[in-house]
Structures are given as structure tokens and as C-alpha cells.
């Protein structure tokens, strides 16, 4: 790891620690001020006034899973584009064409997922 990168990491670490502390410290201190009277009814899950009929730990809509899978594929491809994009400005037409071919391949992947019905909310 280069020295510069390490410096950035330490700076961000300090920033993050401050970020965690600023909400957490009031949360801990306010415990001594705020009322805390839990009752059996109060700590029930909210279900518009009736007792919870179905537990929320149950199978959910399949489409979420489909979209998550497609997301991972495209996100990885996007990250690859980030590695290429800063140098494209001074690249030749030939290099630009290569990047363009990559994008067409990504579009092809999207087309495939589309035709397979992965993008349908059924």
C-alpha cells in the first residue's frame, strides 16, 4: 500500500469513528433522561392495531432475488468501466472502439436477461 493511500485510510478511519460516536454518545447519555416503561402491549410488533397474524420471517416475492442476481452481474461490469473510463480521454479511436465493444456486450447481457423474463415483476 502506498503511503498516500494509507494516509487517506487513516483519515477516513478517524472520520468514521467520529461519525459513529456522534449518534452513539447521545443515545447512551439520553438513556438517563428519557422514560423507559415497556409494557407487554407496547413492545408488540405494530400491525395496525391487531395482534400479528403472520410472522415476517417467511418466503417473500421471488422477483427480489432475480433482480439481486442481475444487479450483481451489472455492478461488476460497472466497476470494470470505472477502471477504464479515466484514461479514455486521451485514448485513440481504436481503444475507444474496444471500450464500445465491451458496452455492447453488456447491453447484450441485458437483452438476454430481458428475453429470459428476469426483469418482469410477476
Amino acid at each position: 500500500m502506498s503511503e498516500e493511500l494509507l494516509a487517506d485510510v487513516f483519515f477516513l478511519l478517524g472520520f468514521g469513528v467520529a461519525g459513529l460516536m456522534l449518534p452513539m454518545v447521545p443515545l447512551l447519555l439520553l438513556r438517563y433522561i428519557r422514560p423507559q416503561h415497556p409494557s407487554a402491549v407496547k413492545i408488540e410488533p405494530y400491525e395496525s392495531g391487531v395482534a400479528q397474524t403472520t410472522a415476517p420471517r417467511r418466503p417473500f416475492h421471488m422477483a427480489y432475488y432475480n433482480f439481486a442476481l442481475v444487479f450483481i452481474v451489472f455492478e461488476v461490469e460497472t466497476v470494470l468501466l470505472f477502471a477504464v473510463s479515466p484514461v479514455l480521454r486521451d485514448a485513440s479511436w481504436m481503444d475507444l472502439l474496444k471500450a464500445g465493444i465491451f458496452i455492447v456486450l453488456v447491453a447484450d447481457g441485458l437483452f438476454y436477461a430481458w428475453r429470459k423474463g428476469a426483469l418482469e415483476w410477476k
Partner: protein
């Protein structure tokens, strides 16, 4: 690059020598890892306090704007024109009972608000406030800006799951599904800007626009994609289906109350601020502008974009879940791929 601003703004923010404290060796902060840690901590405290204060202002503005649009007066009783209302609300939230459902996962329930608020505020590190003024100019600043606030998506899902509540669960699922769907077109629209900038540093971003012109003129399509997908990312109307109050009560934060609930609010507004600030940096030349100092320009431009988002909230109806996903995957994703190819041609034409 020709930029002029008053002398008092012409200093390196990170180099603390402008404090002119003879007993502090400013190099110390950059030479040691603990110095850097302390410097980061110092900035963290400063930025978080600022965001907290800003959120109070937003809440007031939002209530007043909504009141105007809906033909009401809004808060009027506390202070002149209800100016002190948010302050009183903060006190109320702070001393309110913190109810945690018995069935909730204790650790995840406590962790989720932090996961929402901390990454959203950490994005401030790379926001270019002035022309070269960045809290820390990371060499992967733009990637950092896209990557770190994305952790919020995990926080939303965790909040929904941990609450052990049907409304929360559905809200959390919807929130994360929406978050990941709009992530890709948004990232791709930023990639086009990176192509024109030739760097991932957010300070370079402003310099590149000083050399050419505002990128909104070169990449109007990228700007449209960025704005719409960003509205979805920060769960603003018309994309606020994760917390659609008419069907899901309050979505993923149904079970949260008091101070923990306000953390979600803080995170949402922090995300809106950083996203708007970055929209200005990416497409409107950041602090570039005549006469006024860059910081003033930057704040003005950002305020306009935030105001736009606030007005939009009380103007548009809400999307349905299937429409929302179809819009992201069948319209914005193909559009942003075409936009990438288009941006390549524009880039060749300009440089």
C-alpha cells in the same frame, strides 16, 4: 485555470497553518498516523454537527413549502413563523421513550440506524465545496462517493428485517430492491463524467469543468439520468415506495421511535444533501461562477437542487413497485448504455 476569490478563502483547509497557532506544529497532523486519525476525527465531528444543523433547517423548509403548496400555514406557533419548531421537535425526539419490539433482533435493530446515517455523512469527505476545496481529495473520490453511501442500502434492509414487523419487512425489501436497481444507471451516468474529466478525483472534476464548460451542457442526458436515479436512491417522491405511508405505515422505520427514528431522518437528509452537492459538482461546475466566492456559488446551486427535490415531493404521485423496477431496468439501464456510447463520441468531439 483562472479563478479568483477573496484572499481569506485562499488557503489550504487541511493545512491548519491558517489557524496561526505557533504552539501547534501543523505538519504533525500529516506525518503520523495518529495525527491523521485525529484530523479525520476533527473533520468528522465538524461535518456531523453541520449536517445535524442543516437537517433542522431542511425540516423547517420542507414543512413550510408543503404548507404553501397545500394551502396551509405550516408551523406558526413556536417562535416567529414557527422558526423554533424544529428545535423543539429535536428536544421532544431526544427525550422520547425508545421502544424496541420484544421480537426484534436487538443488535441489528440498534445497528441499522447507524448504518444508514454514517455512510451518508461520510460522503461529505469528497464533496468539492469550493474550486479546489475538498475535505480530503481522495484519488478515487468519485468512486468513493458512489461506493460508500451505498452501504445505506444494507442499513435499510437490516432495519426492515430486524424489526420483526410485516410492514417494516416489506419496506426494507422494497428499499433495498429500489436501491440496487437505480444504482447501476446512476453509476453509468457518472462514468460518462469521469470519461470527460480523465480522473476519479473530485477536485480534478471542477478543474476539468473550468477548462471546458459545465458538463450539463456536454452531457444533458447523463444529467437527467443522474437526477432521476438519485431521487430514487434517496427514497424521495416519486420513488418513496419503501415508506409509502398509505400502504406500509412508515416502511422500514415503522418500529423505530425517538432518537433512533431521527437518525433515519438525518441519514435521509444527509444523503439528499451530498447527492445534490455532487450533482452540482458533476454537472454544474461546482463553485465556478463570476463575482461571488466559489463556496457561495456552490451553496446556492446546491440549495436550488434541494429545493427542486422538496417541491417535487408535494407535486408528484408515487410509482407502483412493478413500474418502479421496470423504469429502472427497461428504460434507464438501456438509456444509460446508449448514453455511454454517445458520451464517447462527445468526448472525441470536445478533446
Amino acid at each position: 485555470m483562472e479563478v479568483n476569490w477573496p484572499g481569506w478563502l485562499d488557503f489550504d483547509w487541511l493545512d491548519l497553518s491558517w489557524l496561526e497557532l505557533p504552539w501547534i506544529d501543523t505538519n504533525w497532523f500529516h506525518d503520523n498516523w495518529y495525527g491523521l486519525l485525529l484530523l479525520g476525527f476533527f473533520w468528522g465531528v465538524l461535518v456531523f454537527t453541520m449536517v445535524g444543523a442543516l437537517t433542522a433547517v431542511y425540516v423547517y423548509v420542507e414543512r413550510k413549502v408543503s404548507a404553501r403548496i397545500q394551502g396551509r400555514l405550516g408551523p406558526m406557533e413556536t417562535g416567529p413563523h414557527g422558526l423554533l419548531q424544529t428545535l423543539v421537535d429535536v428536544v421532544k425526539l431526544a427525550v422520547k421513550e425508545d421502544v424496541r419490539p420484544a421480537a426484534a433482533d436487538a443488535l441489528a435493530f440498534r445497528l441499522a440506524p447507524l448504518l444508514v446515517v454514517v455512510p451518508a455523512v461520510m460522503a461529505f469527505v469528497v464533496v468539492p465545496f469550493g474550486v479546489p476545496m475538498v475535505i480530503r481529495d481522495l484519488n478515487v473520490g468519485i468512486l468513493y462517493f458512489l461506493a460508500v453511501p451505498s452501504i445505506t442500502g444494507v442499513g435499510l434492509l437490516l432495519a426492515g428485517w430486524a424489526s420483526y414487523d410485516n410492514y417494516s419487512f416489506l419496506g426494507g425489501l422494497r428499499a433495498s430492491a429500489q436501491f440496487i436497481s437505480y444504482e447501476i444507471p446512476r453509476t453509468l451516468s457518472v462514468v460518462t463524467v469521469v470519461m470527460l474529466t480523465g480522473s476519479l478525483s473530485s477536485a480534478r472534476l471542477i478543474e476539468a469543468q473550468a477548462d471546458t464548460t459545465w458538463f450539463v451542457l456536454l452531457l444533458p442526458l447523463s444529467f437527467v439520468i443522474y437526477v432521476v436515479t438519485t431521487l430514487a436512491e434517496v427514497n424521495r417522491v416519486p420513488f418513496d415506495i419503501p415508506e409509502a405511508e398509505s400502504e406500509l405505515v412508515a416502511g422500514f422505520h415503522t418500529e423505530y421511535s425517538g432518537f433512533r427514528w431521527s437518525l433515519f431522518f438525518l441519514g435521509e437528509y444527509a444523503a439528499l444533501t451530498t447527492a445534490s452537492a455532487f450533482a452540482v459538482a458533476l454537472f454544474f461546475g461546482g463553485g465556478l461562477g463570476p463575482v461571488l466566492p466559489p463556496v457561495v456559488w456552490f451553496v446556492l446551486k446546491t440549495a436550488v437542487i434541494i429545493f427542486f427535490a422538496v417541491v417535487l415531493r408535494f407535486t408528484l404521485p408515487r410509482f407502483r413497485q412493478d413500474q418502479l423496477m421496470a423504469l429502472a431496468w427497461k428504460y434507464f439501464l438501456p438509456l444509460s448504455l446508449v448514453n455511454l456510447l454517445l458520451a464517447g463520441l462527445i468526448m472525441k468531439a470536445v478533446f
